[in-house]
């Protein structure tokens, strides 16, 4: 099939206005996506630096690299940076912002000024948190459990809490914008069931952002109020209940993990379709699975609290619901696999990341079953088993999907191609480094090594050393793409409008696209991933 003539348009969104004001005051969703890209990448490397220090400390059993106070701040800040400032905004605010209007055939999001405001709010929240970091850090864990965070910790809890509170609004506004855009701005002929699956996953994610984040906001507000004014919501000495905090916190923070993984699943659907040149198997099921995950995700928060002192019966209800939420994810994995059957499977880098996602997310998700079964969770909760589980999903899953999407849409965003050999090499390094880092942690967890431990018994060392070695490899793997992607901006080959031969509205416009996205507003008459209809000569 024809991939179009390869050229760079003379006017496009990147050269439509120069100077810092045209970027900092832009309303173009594509430029805002790049503003976010720069910011989330920065926070990723800050959070990553903390991870490096953590793994360095854990290479030896004794607490000899940093003091225990410092270590506690390292894992707290690693969690805060990664969860709130990288994982949650990563795909929605970068790829989502860039692609949602283009994929539905619109000129921009419904509320562009709000979109820019959301970036500024994100930056403001980030500044508060960076201030907390510079002022000495915070040591409560990213989970802020009370009464430690409200009564006992002597570190910068309030600035951090404020930073997260503010950034939460960025999340809410992004979700709000996507919901309104998808409802009201679809091009003529773009029905719900003709939308690419990435949009379904953005929609489901936005539902969670909009419904869950406010509860986190009020919870954090209560923590700050209790800490400042000694109101007794969570402090038993004042009549409060510390477990109430956990319920309120996890009510958001469990759905939050679906904010982190659903967008990545959406990317994987796009990658699998494009790199097998085939309709995603079971499109309707995958679309509904996204919504099902979003809804069910709100009902399982208690599985973080099986040993926290809740009643046996409520634990069992949360356990049953947690098993239920695994089913739609399994359905997606099966559908992606089935899509590859009789596909025209390319081994280009984005597909490698997609395959990596499917494999690693499957393992991570299956270990979720271990945690949903209460009798087993009692043993492994609060250990490295949990850490391994969520890193398989967040890093093996979300991050790989993010990198895959970045590589897939890089030509559209920049108009250039990156170096394929280096890209494949990095993907391989990341895959190997990741497994070496986190697989030993499952074993460590079952052995009983608790999490958030600065020093540990010597018999755990060999596994920790393996994990730290993996981390150093993983770090290298993440640095290389930074280099070749930046290099490609100047020196990469021109991509043309459709370098992958993929089907989708974004591939019908130039690379990079014009500011209004399309020369003519599109009218849609075909289903998503209609590769069949696009066949020209090849039989």
């Amino acid at each position: 099939m024809s991939t179009g003539t390869v050229f760079m348009p003379t006017r496009h969104y990147l050269n439509d206005g120069y100077g810092i004001r045209s970027w900092l005051l832009t309303r173009d969703h594509k430029r805002i996506a790049l503003l976010y890209l720069a910011a989330v990448t920065l926070f990723f490397f800050v959070g990553g630096a903390f991870a490096v220090l953590i793994r360095l400390e854990l290479a030896t059993p004794a607490g000899d690299f940093v003091s225990d106070e410092t270590y506690n701040k390292l894992f707290t800040m690693h969690g805060v940076m990664m969860v709130f400032f990288f994982l949650i905004p990563s795909i929605p605010a970068t790829l989502g912002n860039f692609l949602v209007p283009i994929m539905i055939g619109a000129k921009d999001l419904a509320l562009p000024k709000l979109n820019l405001a959301s970036w500024y709010i994100y930056i403001l929240g980030g500044l508060f948190t960076l201030y907390a970091l510079i002022a000495g850090g915070v040591d409560t864990g990213w989970t802020f459990y009370t009464p430690f965070s409200t009564v006992s910790s002597t570190t910068n809890v309030i600035p951090t809490a404020l930073g997260i509170f503010i950034t939460g609004f960025s999340s809410i506004l992004t979700g709000l914008n996507f919901i309104v855009t998808i409802h009201r701005m679809r091009a003529p002929g773009m029905t719900w069931f003709r939308m690419p699956l990435f949009l379904w996953s953005m929609y489901a994610t936005s539902l969670i952002m909009v419904l869950g984040t406010p509860v986190l906001a009020i919870t954090i507000l209560l923590v700050a109020v209790e800490r400042l004014f000694h109101f007794g919501f969570f402090d038993p000495r004042l009549g409060g209940d510390p477990v109430l905090f956990q319920h309120l916190f996890w009510f958001y923070s469990h759905p939050a993990v679906y904010i982190m993984v659903l967008p990545s699943m959406g990317v994987v659907s796009e990658l699998v379709a494009a790199f097998c040149r085939k309709q995603v198997f079971g499109y309707g099921f995958v679309a509904f699975a996204s919504v099902a995950i979003a809804v069910l995700g709100f009902l399982v928060w208690g599985h973080h609290m099986f040993v926290a002192g809740q009643s046996v019966y409520s634990a069992l209800i949360f356990s049953a619901l947690s098993f239920l939420v695994a089913i739609p994810s399994a359905v997606k994995v099966f559908n992606w696999t089935a899509t590859m059957y009789k596909g025209s499977v390319s081994w280009q880098t984005p597909m490698l990341y997609a395959i990596g996602f499917i494999g690693l997310f499957t393992i991570g998700g299956l270990t979720g079953l271990f945690l949903a079964s209460v009798g087993l969770d009692v043993h492994v909760t609060d250990t490295y088993f949990i850490i391994a589980h969520f890193h398989y999903i967040m890093v093996g899953g979300t991050l790989m999907g993010y990198l895959g999407g970045l590589h897939y849409w890089w030509p559209k965003i920049s108009g250039r191609l990156y170096n394929e050999f280096l890209a494949k090499l990095s993907a391989g390094i990341i895959f190997l480094g990741f497994n070496l880092t986190f697989f030993p942690q499952f074993i460590l967890g079952y052995l009983g090594m608790p999490r958030r431990y600065h020093a540990y018994p010597p018999e755990f060392q060999v596994l920790n050393v393996l994990s730290s070695a993996g981390a150093s490899i993983l770090g290298v793997g993440y640095l290389i793409p930074m280099l070749y992607l930046m290099w490609s901006l100047r020196y990469g080959k021109l991509a043309g409008s459709n370098p992958w031969g993929a089907v989708g509205l974004e591939w019908t416009t130039t690379s990079p696209p014009p500011t209004e996205n399309f020369a003519e507003p599109p009218v849609v008459t075909w289903d998503a991933y209609d590769y069949e209809a696009q066949v020209t000569v090849e039989s």
Binding site: K342, A372, Y453, P458
Partner: protein, 333 residues
């Protein structure tokens, strides 16, 4: 016999370091361990099956259907209801099996047997205090006999902690302001790690100890090492007098408060009409917050002792109340 905290964990007491022991699986030292491990192995099998299946298929398809010419597209398949239902329903049933199995293990963990050796635990930043009923006090080390069910009744003096003994496969958060409990029956003498498993501040990873499981005869010897202060219950009796509890709680039912003899373990009716079982939590709450659950027929006039008693003194009072047996019926005039 207490011991000072070990701060250098790179070598243990026997001088072992990372190369001397390199376990890949924890010790199994309690009656629950086998049950938990069985469920674990089943889940490993299920996970291995599906992981290998998916990974295998993906790699197989990636190779078999690899793109052979730059313009080729995939075959046209839109999906199949039969397949979708199959791979929804089968995983659903598998999850039901796992759920039921996990639930049954959890029930067993949550229901201590009727007769347990009770030991009180008070966690505080960053140490564990164990109180045996006959007065033995231990710090960071807990001696228990093999082959008997042991119940730990736990509370915290400050923030949330967690008692975790990997070899027993037990864990529970230790909360301020409340009692929580775990139970276990050790099956093998030995020394086993005890960890705090809920992040609690600076020295969280130093809040570790050991459970020392002994043969019954050795345990008896150890116990008879004795505690100078006497049993928890006798300390509680002294407190009961010192705090003047005995002025209102009299065995002859002439006091303004309910008779406590024989009360522990019974069901009482409250003023609100609900019934409640008199357990450790109720006794503790009635001392700290007496007007919360007043017994029917009595006035809410008991003063609160919040701030006047420590957690350890509360344990002593609870044990004292437990020890008060019913008296023979009083002859009325």
């Amino acid at each position: 016999m207490s011991r000072s905290l070990r701060t250098d964990l790179s070598k243990d007491e026997a001088g072992a370091d990372m190369w001397t022991g390199f376990p890949l699986f924890p010790d199994s030292a309690s009656t629950m361990a086998g049950r938990v491990d069985a469920l674990y192995f089943f889940l490993i099998a299920v996970s291995a099956f599906f992981s290998v299946l998916i990974a295998g298929l993906i790699v197989f398809y990636a190779v078999k259907y690899r793109r052979r010419s730059p313009d080729s597209v995939g075959a046209s398949y839109h999906g199949g209801m039969a397949l979708e239902l199959t791979w929804t329903v089968i995983p659903f049933f598998i999850t039901i099996v796992i759920f039921v199995w996990g639930a049954s293990v959890f029930f067993a963990m949550s229901r201590p047997p009727d007769e347990t050796l009770n030991i009180y635990v008070v966690g505080k930043q960053w140490m564990w205090k164990f109180q045996h009923l006959d007065g033995q006090r231990e710090i960071n080390e807990l001696h228990v006999p093999v082959g008997r069910p042991v119940k730990l009744i736990m509370t915290s003096e400050d923030v949330i902690h967690d008692v975790f003994v990997p070899a027993f496969r037990v864990k529970a958060d230790v909360l301020p302001g409340r009692y929580t409990h775990i139970w276990f029956q050790p099956t093998k003498p030995g020394r086993y790690h005890l960890f705090c498993a809920e992040y609690c501040g600076t020295r969280h990873s130093g809040m570790v100890g050991e459970v020392v499981v002994m043969d019954p005869s050795e345990y008896q010897t150890w116990l008879s090492g004795g505690a100078p202060e006497g049993s928890l219950a006798s300390a509680g009796a002294r407190l009961f007098q010192d705090l003047a509890c005995n002025t209102c709680h009299r065995p002859d039912a002439q006091g303004r408060g309910p008779v406590l003899e024989g009360l522990f373990g019974k069901t009482v009716t409250l003023q609100s009409g609900e019934t409640i079982t008199v357990d450790e939590a109720y006794v503790r709450e009635s001392i700290l917050n007496p007007s919360a659950k007043v017994t029917a027929g009595f006035q809410p006039i008991m003063p609160t002792f919040q701030g006047l008693v420590t957690e350890e003194q509360l344990l002593e009072l609870v044990e004292y109340v437990k020890s008060l047996k019913s008296l023979p019926p009083v002859q009325t005039r």
